[in-house]
């Protein structure tokens, strides 16, 4: 497979719909969470997807991993269409395309020790029983954890350490593509930077490709080669990371940029005053169906 010609992941005209039921009155309506989206991820590349909650970014990558079914459109991975793949075919695809979730506490089995959590995908990869301990140590080391962390339960780890375990679990299958769903949003600022750096190292070392989903352009800018901005289910702007951040074209991109608090007291004060006037521009589409992070279906 040539790295330059064929994209690793190709999303073509993908549309995903949910049937949302309103509580009172039982009006059934269809929500188009992803609306005719086309995106590509090339080998070795990191694509950032940014947007507010409810914009469809999480739905998009869940559908790309075929955790959700699309209404129309297609997703191709390594040149094969996975929208119509069989279960068996999908199993192979999933080994080469792994997900990391935002809520590391919910994503890890609370009753298993870290080394047990890592052993499952390792065995799936065909690692022999005798090699398991060694491979687990290697994985832990790879994500910056110490051997003794393998004996711990998820709740005994900090948020940053748990997210490292989530990444290690994804790496255990030696994937080519990592789909990262808000991997640092729930973390402290200082830990956020650590995880971003870890991902940068791993990408370099394993020639990994990544899709990095977040609501914060400031983070996405540093980790991505290209950025796609989503709004209301559609990609409204896509381009080179620096280009999108320094010369945004779409108003939604500009709004996302303007929302980042500048780390300078004087400028921040001016910006806060400006924001106070333009309140409710985007958060007005409420009152209905959203749970937390409204872009995931219940």
């Amino acid at each position: 497979m040539s790295d330059t010609a064929q994209p690793l992941l190709e999303i073509e005209r993908l549309t995903v719909e949910f049937h949302a039921r309103r509580d009172r009155g039982h009006v059934q309506r269809t929500v188009r969470a992803v609306d005719d989206v086309s995106l590509t991820v090339h080998s070795g590349e990191t694509l950032g997807i940014v947007g507010e909650s409810g914009c469809g970014k999480t739905t998009l990558i869940r559908c790309a991993a075929k955790l959700l079914d699309a209404k129309s459109g297609s997703v191709s991975f390594e040149g094969t269409d996975i929208t119509s793949a069989s279960r068996r075919g999908l199993r192979d695809v999933r080994k080469r395309m792994q997900l990391v979730f935002q809520d590391s506490e919910a994503a890890l089995n609370p009753r298993k020790r870290v080394r047990q959590i890592l052993a499952t995908p390792l065995r799936l990869r065909g690692v022999a029983r005798g090699q398991l301990a060694h491979e687990t140590q290697t994985l832990l080391q790879e994500v910056g954890l110490r051997p003794e962390h393998g004996r711990r339960f998820p709740h005994e780890l900090s948020g940053g350490q748990r997210q490292r375990v989530g990444i290690a679990r994804a790496l255990a299958l030696q994937p080519r593509l990592l789909l990262l769903d808000e991997p640092v949003s729930a973390l402290d600022v200082s830990v956020r930077a650590q995880i971003v750096n870890l991902l940068a190292d791993l990408r370099e070392r394993h020639r990994l490709s990544c899709v990095f989903v977040a609501h914060d352009l400031a983070i996405v800018r540093h980790v991505s080669d290209r950025i796609a901005v989503m709004h209301a289910g559609q990609v409204v702007e896509v381009g080179d990371a620096e280009q999108v951040c320094s010369a945004p074209e779409h108003p939604r991109t500009k709004a996302l940029l303007a929302a980042i608090p500048p780390p300078d007291p004087l400028i921040a004060r001016q910006q806060l005053a400006a924001n106070a006037v333009s309140v409710d521009a985007s958060d007005g589409r409420d009152g209905g169906d959203g749970g937390d992070g409204g872009d995931t279906p219940d």
């Binding site: 909650s53 600022v189 200082s190 400031a218 800018r221 929302a259 921040a268 409420d286 009152g287």
Partner: protein, 352 residues
């Protein structure tokens, strides 16, 4: 004038299975009337425990709170429950991090706000509901009339936080404790909520204790900043001093790890290596020294919070226009101010 809140040597201990754990190890600070004091630190730094301890909300018989916190001249620590209850919600109100789990899922927003009003004012249910609706409207809730009857799960994250803010302001408190008020929100919603807080503060003159892990959030809102690490204050100063002339390496690290939208794009972000020490096993001397690249022998000595930047005659920061009261910059790092100024610049910016 006496400060609105004066905290002296506050200590919070938790009994755990592995032994006693000191979450807050002797914290002192003051909040003036109408002032915004930000308490910044990583998870486990004791910043939330400090905020909760003021109202005795840490919960559980396994927690013990010691020290002193005088609010409007009256002691809060160890105050009888009924007196504490009268302060809670009426004079000191709180906003929490996750508005979804912090609102009762089975009660309507309007009733939850009215309930607080009725706990402190002898008004009829109707009158309380009317006031609740006004509070919602003031907190920028669109269609506040309709949303009174909404349940928390029917609102978006931003709207839920507005409901929390409305609740907090419903009894016109003189101090608002905001514990990570924007952490669970999107960047765009965060900007709106911060702007809303700034506006309400300007209108009502309320003092704010803003607890957060994100120094970027405090720049626009705070007058003064308290940086906490491992249960101690490592540095405090005006927002300008903290952002322009930070004295403690931990503060440099926090400033450096803010992801910036300006400046060069980097594959690797400046970060603070390692993790905070276990609260069960705090090192002697500077608690940050294990993670500090600039640590030297003297860092193992016990070190006090002192005005070092000025003491060395460096001039410190210029008087600032907005702070209600210029206060001293204190820090806990033994490096000389000159050394600090040289060490803290990494790639042209402040960092570790």
């Amino acid at each position: 004038m006496a400060p609105l809140l004066e905290v002296r040597n506050l200590r919070v201990d938790f009994q755990t299975a592995e032994g006693p754990l000191r979450a807050v190890a002797g914290v002192s600070f003051t909040v003036q009337r109408g002032e915004v004091l930000a308490v910044v630190g990583e998870s486990g730094s004791g910043k939330s425990a400090t905020a909760l301890a003021l109202l005795g909300l840490n919960g559980g018989p396994a927690t013990s709170i010691a020290g002193s916190a005088e609010f409007e001249g009256a002691e809060l620590i160890g105050a009888p429950p009924e007196r504490l209850r009268r302060v809670r919600g009426a004079q000191i109100a709180m906003i929490f991090q996750d508005p979804m789990s912090s609102l009762n899922p089975v009660q309507r927003i309007g009733n939850q706000i009215a309930e607080q009003i009725r706990a402190h004012r002898s008004v009829s249910k109707r009158e309380a509901l009317g006031r609740a609706e006004d509070a919602l409207a003031r907190a920028g809730m669109p269609r506040s009339n309709e949303q009174m009857r909404a349940y928390p799960h029917e609102l978006s994250g931003g709207m839920r936080q507005r409901a929390m803010i409305a609740m907090a302001f419903s009894c016109s408190p003189s101090l608002l404790i905001a514990d990570e008020p924007t952490t669970a929100l999107d960047v765009t919603v965060q900007a709106q909520i911060l702007a809303e807080l700034a506006r309400l503060r300007a209108e009502s003159g309320v003092a704010v204790l803003l607890v957060t892990h994100d120094l970027g959030v405090v720049a626009g809102l705070a007058d003064r900043v308290l940086v906490m690490y491992a249960g101690e204050v490592v540095e405090q100063g005006t927002v300008q001093q903290i952002f322009e002339d930070p004295q403690h390496p931990y503060t440099w690290g926090l400033l450096g790890s803010i992801a910036r939208i300006d400046g060069p794009r980097r594959a690797r972000l400046p970060s603070i290596a390692g993790a905070p020490p276990s609260p069960l096993d705090q090192p002697s001397g500077c608690r940050f020294r294990a993670r500090c690249p600039h640590a030297f022998e003297r860092c193992a000595e016990p070190v006090q919070l002192q005005a070092r930047a000025r003491a060395a005659g460096s001039g410190g920061a210029a008087p600032h226009a907005w702070g209600p009261q210029a206060s001293e910059q204190l820090d806990r790092c033994l490096l000389t101010p000159e050394r600090k100024r040289a060490l803290r610049v990494v790639d042209g910016e402040i960092g570790l």
